[in-house]
Symmetry: C2
Subunit: 459 residues, 2 copies
């Protein structure tokens, strides 16, 4: 049994919480490629972006040089309602696995949104309020981002319209009620309420939706209604910036006990959790101060890093959003109804894509049933029912810990436990009943959607 | 705005966690009346209780003199997975109410069972394991206790059979899946699987069940199956003992900042949370060292303290359990389908009943819709979606804080936030849709069931 001098849970004091977000891009030699105007093929200016996003968020989106951006006091006070989040030493999981590895996880699920999404939601709502807007629109996959945004908007008295991926809307009826309790309106996507929704429904009548579709609808509504802007829970640089609070807290907690991780693991949907968790560690790596193995975990059903293409693509299915350079399966790729709704996105953060392209991180893909096996084992020994998304990271962490068992290496593994699975019980039920299946897209399917990538002049 | 020198959340270090439970009965001059054998009318002996309960738990049940009972190291280690729980200063709620009162809540919902129930579940599973049993049976109302016990049994490799009050089983389908994920079997009660269940169904074919029915079924199964014992999540002295960890942590946290509460508020179902929260404070009051207003909050639909009778009664509907002296509405009282399933019990902890009878605490009852109004307000400003049970305490705390607003008094109010409402979304949906109703039993209804109280010789 492990020597338990390190506490089970490391909580920072509120004074130790970060006072500034860390802008990972500031330390990148190869900056992430800029967003392009799909009409002109030219980098988008702040002026062009501001009908879509709040002004201050546009500034954050475009700023790739300032290393630290102060967290406004109002946001820090809100953070104190659910942060600092614990860094947990997984003693029981280590014992169960019989591994010499030391496993830690940063648990972001101890809040009503059930995930890390609240870190960016409150920031985006704050800037929308500061700009005097009436409300915001957004998309949500698993419902975690939508819930987080509803909570943040309720706090600042903003209207909140959420387009929820239809498969999640159906699998998670109760998410809708949480959002309603916080005063939001929720529409399953694709819907008849937007032009782009009607177009997608006409082309794919039976579609269960995707984050890409829902983004198109939310953007359309934001740009057509005065006093509204669109906010996004992942992919964008601004979101990774806000989420750096995860990594900063993790690093402070580890430093406090003189712990140096060997491997850092995060699940990757649009990149918000992974980008936030790894930020300060990747910064050290970029500056040549330290080295870490950093692993992105994605579902085998939606393998952007491991089987996608690094190219400019639309962030949405409706092709009304800006073009981003990223690892993508093509914006017309509609992932299978994998239960990890938060990971069903055809693209990936430009920042993380560039870092992966430049060899600063690895990626792996895992199948759904093996993910739920890991989730069940974790729940039983660590006492937390994990979200399917987070369980992708658990799967990879267990696999690395089992490798240590074979080699006898005492590696220190840190992974991001992004949230809880309390609204994923339909998926757990399928798993409990032995009815869960795996789905891996064929090379032809991926090639077909990649063939439709937009033509963009070489930068 | 309040001076924020006290942190939003006070977390103790793991070393500051209690190493012994506090046995409130040791400080009571009028001890709670003993459990009686319904056949003989005589106090039950350890020998008579041990076919129902684990041996060590029987000892704890009968011990009303030892002030502190050591928490075994295995239990303390499990506690570290989800404890210490935060004591939260409700700055945002205070601001919303515009009250000079200072409000704190001890939040027990940051674990997968979603409530304080895990504190006693792990203790009871530990002693069952230590005794070499195969498994345990239990009842669950809202599902929080059943989930907690499933988690505890899974940790120690024990079989777990849960009888779940039918109305909760139907309103909370996903609870079942959490319990199954932890390996438990779950049966809606009353059921056809027991003699007592069949009898109740024959008499009341349309019944939505009650904790009293479910207890009868679980006890029957435990006593008829070798290697099984019955465990209970509330009412009993042993449970209040284990739950004292809530109050002990609360007191340590308050003492750390030199805070002395004026009012302590808890919701009351069987008394587990209330008894645990108030334990060390009540101890000081009993020893004449300090004075506090202590308020039990119950649903108006199930008003044991405020409208019940202090008398010996069965703990279960099937009248197979021991007799306990308590505030009761009569074991034949079947509460309306109030959504706070955890508060739908006809009786109340003997310890708390005695203390209430002796004037050491107050009680108040609140109606369901006003409880959900409080829950919604709390969720929006404090960021936690509370369980309906816990929201009874929120309602009363808000009411006390509003009185302070009128009088200008800066009272310090501490309440127990026992859990989260993530599995109560059917109830929230009803509230959101304006379809929630209140139900208050008539004097005749209560008189009818009280008239059926068992005859017991005066002690």
């Amino acid at each position: 049994m492990a020597d338990k001098t390190i506490p089970y849970k490391i909580y920072l004091s509120e004074e130790d919480m970060p006072k500034a977000w860390y802008n990972l891009r500031s330390d990148m030699k190869n900056k992430p490629a800029p967003l392009l105007n799909p009409g002109t093929g030219k980098p988008l200016t702040a002026e062009e972006l501001s009908p879509i996003f709040c002004e201050e968020l546009v500034a954050q989106e475009l700023d790739d040089t300032t290393p630290f951006i102060e967290i406004p006091e109002e946001i820090r006070n809100f953070y104190k309602m659910f942060r600092p989040s614990p860094l947990v030493r997984a003693y029981c999981l280590e014992e169960k696995l019989g591994t010499p590895a030391k496993i830690y996880y940063k648990f972001e699920g101890n809040n009503t949104s059930g995930s890390h999404k609240l870190n960016s939601a409150i920031a985006q709502a704050y800037y929308a309020k500061k700009q005097g807007l009436k409300g915001v629109t957004t998309e949500t996959g698993a419902g975690q981002w939508g819930t987080a945004l509803s909570m943040a908007c309720s706090y600042f008295g903003l209207d909140c319209k959420v387009y929820m991926v239809k498969v999640s809307y159906e699998q998670k009826p109760f998410r809708r009620e949480v959002m309603r309790t916080y005063g939001a309106s929720v529409v399953p996507s694709p819907s008849e309420t937007t032009e782009v929704g009607r177009k997608i429904l006409a082309e794919f009548p039976g579609t269960t939706g995707s984050l890409g579709c829902a983004i198109s609808e939310a953007v359309e509504v934001a740009t057509k209604n005065p006093g509204y802007r669109y906010v996004l829970g992942s992919v964008l640089n601004q979101v990774l910036l806000h989420q750096s609070v995860i990594g900063l807290e993790t690093k402070t907690a580890l430093d406090k006990y003189g712990i140096k991780p060997d491997i850092i693991i995060g699940c990757a949907g649009g990149g918000s959790n992974l980008g936030g968790l790894i930020a300060p560690f990747m910064g050290e790596k970029l500056r040549g101060e330290a080295d870490y193995r950093i692993i992105a975990v994605e579902p085998a059903s939606c393998p952007r890093f491991t089987r996608g293409t690094f190219a400019y693509d639309f962030c949405d299915t409706g092709m009304i959003c800006p073009l981003a350079k990223m690892y993508t399966l093509g914006s017309s790729f509609i992932p299978s109804a994998n239960h990890a709704g938060g990971l069903r996105f055809h693209g990936m953060s430009s920042t993380l894509s560039q870092l992966y392209h430049d060899g600063y991180m690895e990626a792996t893909s895992v199948e759904q049933t093996s993910v739920f096996e890991a989730a069940e084992m974790f729940a039983r020994v660590e006492g937390i029912l994990p979200a399917p998304e987070s369980s992708h990271a658990i799967r990879a962490a267990i696999d690395e810990a089992l490798k240590c068992k074979e080699t006898g290496e005492e590696k220190t593994i840190v992974f991001g436990l992004t949230g809880t699975g309390y609204f994923d019980l339909v998926a757990y039920q399928k798993f409990n009943d032995g009815e869960m299946t795996d789905y891996i897209p064929t090379d032809e399917e991926i090639a077909a959607s990649v063939a439709k990538l937009p033509k963009v002049p070489e930068m």
